[in-house]
């Protein structure tokens, strides 16, 4: 508060006013509109619209595939971050730069190219499909696309933590006679756990809302490969606004729950480091 007394900088009212106006016009009012429409539904209507068998199948696929993809991201992301921070090998800087590629690539392009890679005549599909691994137009395709989309989260959350890890602790463990595996399991892994969990939750949250990449690779068959966001679009195309809104509310509630968990996790992991 003392700082405020001496702060002679101009423009506070102007910039804060513009910020609040722009935020309200673009984010808060649309949000409120959706919530008002959702509140106009009776509880029974909402329950019926949000839990149709087709919707339940879509949730199952959305949450199941997102969970599996986030697990895959946690495993490979940890490995990738470890390799990028700890080892020196040809092409390391290049890979470090290209890890963000899934963030930069429009999701439609990601879905398009992944579905063509894993299709029966694609570069990967022609070897995988004869082995019974069908990556296009199956739930596995959904997992593949979500793994691609969420890949950078775990790597980017873990990298700075790994860089700041004190090697002395590992040296001490080695001096005391611990094997490398033992050091990893009881010294390094507990320190990496909070950021990996944060990255996992970020990837999971992103995967639940993902639409663009899935549309191309899943085939969108009701009850089989249809995700919840796609079902919202279907409801809208049938002009079933109430159905779309009910599904949207379910997705929003899950997103906000995850957001809360992520905030708690970040607080937890920053406490771990200091």
């Amino acid at each position: 508060m003392a700082q405020k007394k001496f702060n002679a900088l101009p423009g506070f009212g102007l910039t804060l006013g513009f910020t609040l106006f722009y935020l309200s016009a673009l984010v808060l009012i649309p949000f409120a509109g959706l919530l008002i429409r959702a509140c106009e539904l009776s509880w029974g209507d909402f329950w019926n619209l949000a839990t149709t068998p087709r919707a339940l199948a879509a949730y199952k696929l959305t949450f199941g595939a997102s969970f599996i993809a986030a697990i895959a991201n946690a495993l490979f992301g940890t490995l990738l971050a470890w390799v990028l921070v700890r080892y020196e090998f040809p092409g390391r800087r290049f890979i470090d730069a290209i890890v963000d590629f899934p963030f930069a690539l429009p999701t439609a392009v990601a879905g398009l190219t992944l579905s063509s890679l894993f299709a029966a005549n694609g570069w990967l599909g022609r070897y995988l499909v004869p082995l019974g691994i069908k990556g296009a137009f199956t739930p596995l395709g959904v997992v593949i696309a979500l793994t691609f989309v969420g890949m950078p989260f775990v790597v980017r959350t873990l990298q700075p933590v790994l860089q700041d890890l004190e090697r002395e602790v590992e040296e001490a463990a080695a001096t005391l006679g611990a094997s490398r595996l033992r050091t990893f399991v009881s010294i390094i892994a507990p320190m990496l756990f909070p950021p990996v969990l944060t990255g996992f939750a970020l990837a999971f949250a992103r995967a639940i809302g993902e639409y663009g990449s899935i549309v191309f690779i899943s085939g969108n068959r009701p009850f089989k490969t249809e995700i919840a966001p796609y079902l919202i679009v279907m409801r809208l195309e049938e002009y079933d606004y109430k159905g779309a809104i009910a599904l949207a509310v379910v997705l929003l509630v899950f997103s906000f729950l995850l957001l809360g968990i992520i905030n708690l996790l970040e607080q937890w992991s920053s406490r771990f480091q200091h």
Partner: protein
Amino acid sequence: MTGLPKQRRADAFQQSQRGTEEPPIIKWILISIALLFCAVFLFLPLVNVLAQAFSKGVAYYWESLANPDSWASIRLTLLVAIISVPLNVGFGLAAAWAIAKFEFRGKSLLITLIDLPFSVSPVVAGLMFVVLFGLQGFFGQWLDAHDIKIIFAVPGIVLATMFVTFPFVARELIPLMQATGTDQEQAALTLGANGLQTFWYVTLPSIKWGLIYGIILCNARAMGEFGAVSVVSGHITGLTETMPLRVEKLYNEYNAPAAFAVASLLALLALLTLGVKTWLEWRQTRNFAKAQLIQEPVLDSNGAGSSRPA
């Protein structure tokens, strides 16, 4: 025989590190898995876009891009980015100035609200605008009576794009401006600069690179957004189709090479974005290292290093 001691020294160093490093075989297995994963999930998808785009030859590639409907989608995508990115930059600068340079109540709530669009599914974001401006929406009747089209028209696409790219610039600038503090601006004002001059000559240079970073991320998302735009666009070929929607339309028409041709432009945009981003990060670490080099002798001359025996 100068090589021998060097070799032995290297061996000794390796032995001293044995406790804190994995055996080479495990190290190389881990590196191989990482490289394989990157090959399948990063290189192949990228190379595949280009290979498929040119699968029917260079002439067909150019033909696909020059197709009037594809060309219209390219122009619309550029138009949407030209409108939405500057507006979000303006918002980002204003929000960062208010949040970083002043203290007020509810600041952390404001920051949370600014991040809100990141945790909303793009499809739900599009749905929000349909609920507001669609025919059955809150303003639908009024807009229809006044013959204003927002949903299934360009304004809706711009709004949806602005919503999903809303946090990028603000989020980049707020921590940066918080870190620089207000001392320099206060000094400029004391020396007689007005508010705008202070911003232009003092604040802007110090946040320049972070601002560019935010703009390129915002732009990449604005040009590549699919879900939110898909809900509000109506998919009218030649009128409300952005490039990502054009990719979908061509793909559904079984014209994969043309779909990949349009997609290749978006992939190039992604590569360009990544290139600029990497360059900015590289520049920052180099400057940081330089700054540390400069700072050390300064500390010495101030007497901080004088306790060291001469």
